[in-house]
């Protein structure tokens, strides 16, 4: 199901975190192509840089070196408003800790992306349409009966479903899932992944899932293994080798 032209292309991505005067390299030269309709699993142990890669692809963070391209357009160094807009409408995010806003109900949480986008006037104009769509999405993830509950009144699985509905609200082209099952038991986790697969299959939604759990990977998925900041088997030489001194510190973190 691959296309010639990648939807998202990652080229020679380097990223290091600076803590005081110490530089902690995380990614050293990652190349990756994501095609429309992919279900891409990024596997790796903790500390392998898989979350960082996801953040860089989702424009939440900026690389030290290398580029991220969406439909051939560089987005990693795009101006702030452009990247805000991308996160709002083109990308959807699901996190391990759900990251719902505790003051808002399930429905309101799902409505946050269009609220961010719309002006007050626009909201009065289109609010009811958004509300309808948010309700439909919550019904689709099986939470039609939980619309007006606050996150603290929901279970972990339910919260993750709300997060999925929120991610879908902006009709994204790519859905990033960062350890979506990390905080759930096996059964709930499988339900969530099943939901994501369903979205991928039925809506041809491109899915990039980061996980350390091999059991979640299906035979049809594209799998990329990330080891110590490099894609396993990739031949790109790292631009910057971690020093012997720095490595243990990195692992300790």
């Amino acid at each position: 199901m691959t296309h010639v032209f990648p939807l998202l292309a990652v080229r020679g991505l380097h990223k290091a975190y600076r803590q005081h005067q110490l530089t902690v390299p995380v990614l050293h030269g990652v190349d990756l192509d994501v095609y429309n309709g992919d279900f891409l699993c990024i596997l790796g142990a903790s500390g392998s840089g898989k979350s960082t890669l996801l953040h860089l692809m989702g424009t939440l963070d900026q690389p030290d070196q290398g580029s991220v391209l969406l439909d051939g357009e560089r987005i990693d160094n795009a101006p702030g408003p452009r990247r805000d807009k991308l996160r709002n409408a083109t990308f959807g995010f699901i996190f391990q800790f759900y990251h719902l806003l505790p003051e808002l109900t399930a429905l309101e949480n799902v409505l946050v992306p269009p609220m961010i986008e719309a002006s007050i006037l626009g909201w009065f104009w289109q609010g009811s349409a958004y509300r309808k769509r948010a309700t439909e999405l919550l019904e689709r993830v099986g939470l039609g009966h939980r619309l007006h509950h606050k996150p603290r009144e929901l279970s972990g699985g339910e919260m993750q479903r709300v997060a999925i509905a929120r991610a879908l609200m902006g009709q994204p082209r790519v859905l990033f899932a960062d350890e979506p099952t990390g905080n759930l038991d096996e059964e709930k986790g499988e339900e969530i992944v099943g939901l994501l697969r369903d979205l991928n299959r039925r809506d041809a939604l491109t899915m990039i899932m980061v996980t350390h759990n091999r059991d979640l990977v299906a035979p049809t998925d594209r799998v990329v293994r990330l080891v110590k900041g490099r894609v396993e088997g990739a031949s790109t030489p790292p631009a910057e080798q971690p020093t012997v001194l720095e490595m243990p510190r990195r692992m300790a973190l």
């Binding site: 953040h55 963070d61 805000d84 996160r87 409408a89 505790p102 003051e103 808002l104 992306p113 909201w123």
Partner: protein, 481 residues
């Protein structure tokens, strides 16, 4: 849109925010109450001060006064520029004096300001007739019926301890034949001369400052009581000086009424007597010390003052009532200004509270800020959330503060009474102040200014935490536990 929703939710769910609101509220309420009370005092005081003083005074430099006052009044009246600007003019002869009277056989001495007036013209100036106690609005230099009867009864049956002050040597009254006038002795009760049988002595009348006639006596365990020292019909002796030669003269006056302006300075000093008699007593026939002038438009004094200065040059001084009370008015306005600065510091303190609490809320909301940014919220959007939050806190605080302040102002006297009753202390000692009730004066522009200031401070102090929130890195914020 999310900004509004989140501001509102944060406001409703954060108890810390309530602390901010309460501190802003208290600051605003304090400022409003203090301004209202101080404004009340100053307005009332100005009113009183102005009430007793005419708009413009044409005054001699010395107690000798100036002659031909009728001519001067005519001159002003027929001046083409002044004629339509002046309502009334009153010639006045002022002098310091010593007042003596007896009570329970004890002599009292006191300094007094002796003012000779024509009742009609002085009443037209204002600030006089309405402060007269017995014949309010219609002052007259004669005894009323009650006093006349009392005096008549006294004459028939003198009191055992006489109240009246004896005549002094040199005074033009005819003592009855065969009765020796007593010597003045301040240490002993002075017997009054028996009433004249054959020739009725007709004294001059005077209107006495209320505080001179009444003394407040405070006894332990008893409420304070006003004792009347001089009743209408009683006599007082006023000693003053003649014009020019400065030799002492005195006259005996019968008190016929009181003057009560509630300005203790005036009530405890002023004695009004008929102008013509005072002129005679002081050998100053045809002379007065000042001409008081009432204008049609009080606010438009300056042209009148300039014209009067042109007419009379340096021979007389022309003063407005504010000139006469300048230092007091300036003191009040300076006091008010300083107090306002100090009280605004209270709101500034509330501002630091907002700063601290906001910083805490930003830390607490770090993860939420990360989420919002991950969902596409811009830096300025996050900034606006927290600025809007500050604005909302300020707004709600100012609103409640204004309500509280206006409520306290409206019931300030009741609150004072309750406080006095509860603590047993007199919060507002009426003896010291000029007023029975705490006066208040709420100026709309002041309330608006205080509100704007408070809201401004709330927003100003939320800028720093809001900036911190806006510049949070989304990934670091999301990782924050």
């Amino acid at each position: 849109m999310y900004k509004l929703l989140l501001c509102w939710r944060y406001l409703r769910t954060r108890y810390l925010a309530m602390v901010c609101i309460v501190s802003v509220m208290l600051g605003v309420a304090t400022l409003i109450v203090v301004n209202a009370v101080m404004g009340g005092f100053s307005t009332k005081l100005r009113e009183r001060l102005h009430g007793l003083l005419s708009d413009v005074v044409l005054e001699a430099y010395t107690y000798d006064g100036f002659g031909n006052y009728e001519g001067k009044i005519e001159l002003i009246r027929h001046d083409p520029f002044l004629a339509d600007k002046i309502i009334a003019m009153a010639p006045t002869l002022e002098s310091f004096a010593m007042i003596q009277f007896g009570y329970n056989g004890n002599p009292f001495y006191q300094r007094a300001q002796l003012i000779g007036i024509e009742l009609e013209s002085r009443s037209a100036i204002g600030g006089f007739a309405e402060h007269i106690v017995l014949r309010k609005g219609k002052p007259q230099f004669i005894l009323d019926e009650v006093a006349t009867q009392r005096v008549a009864a006294q004459k028939k049956q003198p009191l055992e301890i006489p109240l009246a002050v004896p005549p002094f040597p040199g005074q033009k009254i005819d003592a009855p034949e065969g009765i020796e006038l007593p010597k003045v002795d301040s240490l002993k009760p002075i017997p009054t001369p028996p009433p004249s049988q054959n020739q009725e002595f007709v004294p001059e009348f005077c209107i006495l400052g209320h505080a001179m006639a009444f003394r407040r006596v405070e006894l332990p365990d008893k409420p304070a009581k006003d004792i009347c020292l001089i009743q209408p019909g009683d006599d007082v002796v006023l000693t003053t000086i003649t014009g020019g030669r400065l030799s002492p003269v005195f006259g005996r006056f019968t008190v016929c009424d009181y003057f009560k302006s509630d300005m203790s300075e005036y009530d405890s000093n002023y004695v009004y007597v008929p102008l013509s008699y005072l002129q005679k007593l002081r050998s100053m026939e045809g002379r007065v010390t000042s001409i008081q002038i009432r204008l049609k438009d009080e606010r438009n004094k300056q042209p009148v003052v300039d014209r009067l200065k042109y007419l009379f040059g340096d021979s007389l001084q022309v003063m407005t009532w504010e000139d006469k009370q300048g230092p007091l008015l300036a003191a009040i306005s300076i006091e008010k200004g300083i107090l306002n600065v100090l009280l605004f510091l209270i709101i500034a303190v509330a501002g630091f509270g907002i700063l601290a609490i906001f910083s805490m809320i930003v830390v607490e909301k770090t993860r939420d800020i990360g989420i919002l940014k991950a969902l596409g919220a811009s830096n300025s959007g996050v900034l606006q959330i927290f600025l809007g939050y500050g604005l909302l806190l300020g707004l709600v605080g100012a609103l409640f503060g204004s309500g509280l302040g206006l409520l306290i102002t409206a019931y300030v006297n009741e609150i004072e009474a309750t406080l006095s009753w509860a603590t047993g202390l007199e919060v507002f000692p009426r003896k010291i102040y000029y007023f029975d009730r705490i006066p208040t004066d709420i100026q709309t522009y002041q309330v608006v200014l205080i509100n704007v200031g408070a809201i401004g401070i709330a927003v100003l102090f939320s800028v720093l935490p809001a900036l911190r929130a806006a510049l949070l890195h989304p990934v670091r914020a999301l990782r924050y536990e």
